[in-house]
Amino acid sequence: MAEAKLAERPVAAAGAEVLTVGDLQAWYGESHILHGINFNVRAGEVVTLLGRNGAGKTTTLKSIMGVINKRSGSIRFDNKEIIRATSDRIARLGIAFCPEERGIFSSLDVRENLLLPPVVRPGGLPLDQIFTLFPNLKERLNSQGTKLSGGEQQMLAIARILRTGARFLMLDEPTEGLAPVIIQQIGHTIARLKSQGFTILLVEQNFRFASTVADRYYIVEHGKVIDGFANSELSANMDKLHTYLGV
C-alpha cells in the first residue's frame, strides 16, 4: 500500500536522460584520476558502474556530487550544467549521495542522522514509509549513530537520503562488507525504490548483486568508460566482463 501512495508521485518521463556525463576529467591534487568519462542515465533506471578497484568509479560519483573540486568536462543534470556547481547546490538540484564509507555521524544519534539531510524538494518519503523499508531503524532511534551494526548503518545511510525529495540517488558500494541476508534486503530496497520511480546510479564490486538490480552497466577502467551494455545483453557479454573485472 506504500507503493500505491507513491504511484501518484510525478515521475520524470520514462526514458528521458536525467544525467549526461561527457568527457569528465578529475584530479586529486596533482594526480589525474578520470581521463574522460562518458555515460548517461535515463529517468527511472538503475545504472551500475562496474570496474576494478581504483578504476575511478567512486571518483566519478564524487565528481558528479561536486565533492571533488578539480574537474572538467560536462555533467548535465535535468538539463542544467553542473560541472562548476558546489556540492551543496548540486544536492539542492535533487541528487543525493550515499558514500562508500557510509558517513554515519558518531556525534549524532540515529534520529539526528536520519533527519540531518535537509529536504531539498517536495516528494520525499515520509518517515513511516522509511520505517516500513527499514524496520530496524525505528527500534534504534536513540542509539548513537555509529553504535549500529554495519548493515544497519548502511540502511541508515540510504534511509536518510530518501527523505530529502531527491529523485536521483547515487549509491557507492552499498553491499560492501555485509552479510548475504542484508545484501538481499538492500537488493529488495533498491528494486522497490526503482518501482517507485527513483533513478539510481550504483557503483558495485559485487557483480552478482548488481545483476539482480541493474538495467544497464558501464565498465570503468583507468578513468574511462570502456564499454556498456544492457542487462538483457549480460549473458552475451559474460566473457568480456570476466576479462574486464579479472574475476
Binding site: D88, A91, G103, F105, L108, L116, V120, T164
Partner: protein
C-alpha cells in the same frame, strides 16, 4: 569564613569568564580547526564596544549586552571571510600564528589610543548594591554575572546538542564534505560559527567591564589561563568546557584562600598533571 566565601565568589566570577571564553574556543576549534589566539583581543573589544556605546552613544549596559557581541561577531566574521578561511586544511600552526598576529595588532591599536590603564565602566543602576546572605555579603552585580553566564553557557549547550542547527554543526565538525553534499552551505555555517564563538567572547568582555575596568590588555592576561582551562577540559566537548571553566575558577578561588602563593599557578600545575595523565584533556576525544 567570610573570606572563604568571598574567594569562592571571585572564583565563580572568574570561572564564568573562563567558561564563556573556553566554550567559544571549543566551538571554533571544532568547526574551523583553528586555535583562536585572537579570542582574548576580541573579549577586550567587547568591553571597549560597551564603553564606546555608553560614552559616545549614550547606549546603556543592557543594550550593550546585545549590541557588543553582534558588532564584534561581525568583525570576527569579516576576519574569517578575509583571512581564516584560507587556512582550511593547513597545519594548526598557521591558524595559531595568524590569530596571534591579529591579537597583537588589535591590542596594539587599542594600546596606542588608550594606553595601558583602565577606563571606568560603572555598574548599571539596577544591579548596584548588594544583599546580605547571612553568611556573606553578595554584590548584586557579581551574582548577576555568574547566573547570566551560566544561562548563556547552558543555552549554547542546548543550541549545539539539542537542536537541528546544532546537529548540522556537530555533523559538519565530523565530516564537512558530506554535510555540504547534503545541501547545506557549510562555508556560511563556518563563518557563523566563528561569529558565535567570538560573540561569546565579546559578551564576556561586556560582563567584565564593570568588574575589571576596560583595558587594552585585559584579554591578553586572561587568555593564557583560558587556554590552560581548554587544555585541561579537552577540546572535544561543549559541556566539558563549561564545567571545567567554572570548576577551575572555583579551584583558583579556593587556592587563594588556603594557599594564596599558588593561586596564580594552580591552573597551570593542573594542566601539567592532566597532560601527563590524559593528554586529550578530561573530556576530550582523541584527535
Amino acid at each position: 569564613m567570610q573570606a572563604l566565601y568571598a574567594q569562592l565568589l571571585v572564583g565563580l566570577i572568574n570561572g564564568s569568564f573562563y567558561a564563556l571564553l573556553s566554550l567559544g574556543l571549543a566551538v571554533i576549534f571544532g568547526m574551523l580547526n583553528i586555535i583562536n589566539f585572537a579570542h582574548g583581543a576580541l573579549y577586550m573589544m567587547g568591553a571597549f564596544v560597551a564603553y564606546f556605546l555608553l560614552n559616545l552613544g549614550g547606549i546603556n549596559y543592557w543594550w550593550a549586552l546585545l549590541i557588543a557581541p553582534v558588532i564584534v561577531g561581525i568583525f570576527g566574521m569579516i576576519l574569517e571571510r578575509t583571512m581564516l578561511q584560507w587556512l582550511a586544511g593547513l597545519d594548526h600552526l598557521y591558524g595559531l600564528l595568524l590569530t596571534f598576529g591579529i591579537a597583537l595588532i588589535v591590542q596594539g591599536v587599542f594600546q596606542n589610543y588608550f594606553g595601558s590603564s583602565g577606563l571606568p565602566y560603572s555598574i548599571p543602576d539596577q544591579l548596584k548594591g548588594g544583599v546580605n546572605l547571612g553568611f556573606m555579603f553578595l554584590p548584586i552585580y557579581r551574582g548577576w554575572v555568574v547566573i547570566f553566564s551560566l544561562v548563556v553557557c547552558l543555552a549554547t549547550w542546548f543550541l549545539i546538542e539539542k537542536t537541528q542547527l546544532g546537529a548540522y554543526l556537530r555533523a559538519a565538525t565530523e565530516n564537512p564534505t558530506l554535510v555540504r553534499a547534503f545541501g547545506i552551505n557549510v562555508p556560511r555555517m563556518i563563518t557563523l560559527t566563528y561569529g558565535l564563538g567570538v560573540g561569546l567572547a565579546a559578551l564576556a568582555g561586556v560582563l567584565s567591564a564593570p568588574i575589571n575596568q576596560v583595558r587594552p590588555l585585559m584579554g591578553a592576561d586572561l587568555i593564557i589561563v583560558v587556554f590552560a582551562v581548554v587544555v585541561i577540559g579537552g577540546m572535544g566537548s561543549i559541556m566539558g568546557s563549561i564545567i571545567t571553566g567554572f570548576a577551575l575558577g572555583v579551584i583558583e578561588g579556593l587556592t587563594k584562600y588556603f594557599y594564596p602563593e599558588a593561586s596564580n599557578t594552580v591552573v597551570f600545575v593542573l594542566m601539567v598533571v592532566v597532560l601527563l595523565v590524559k593528554p586529550t584533556g578530561l573530556t576530550g576525544r582523541a584527535a
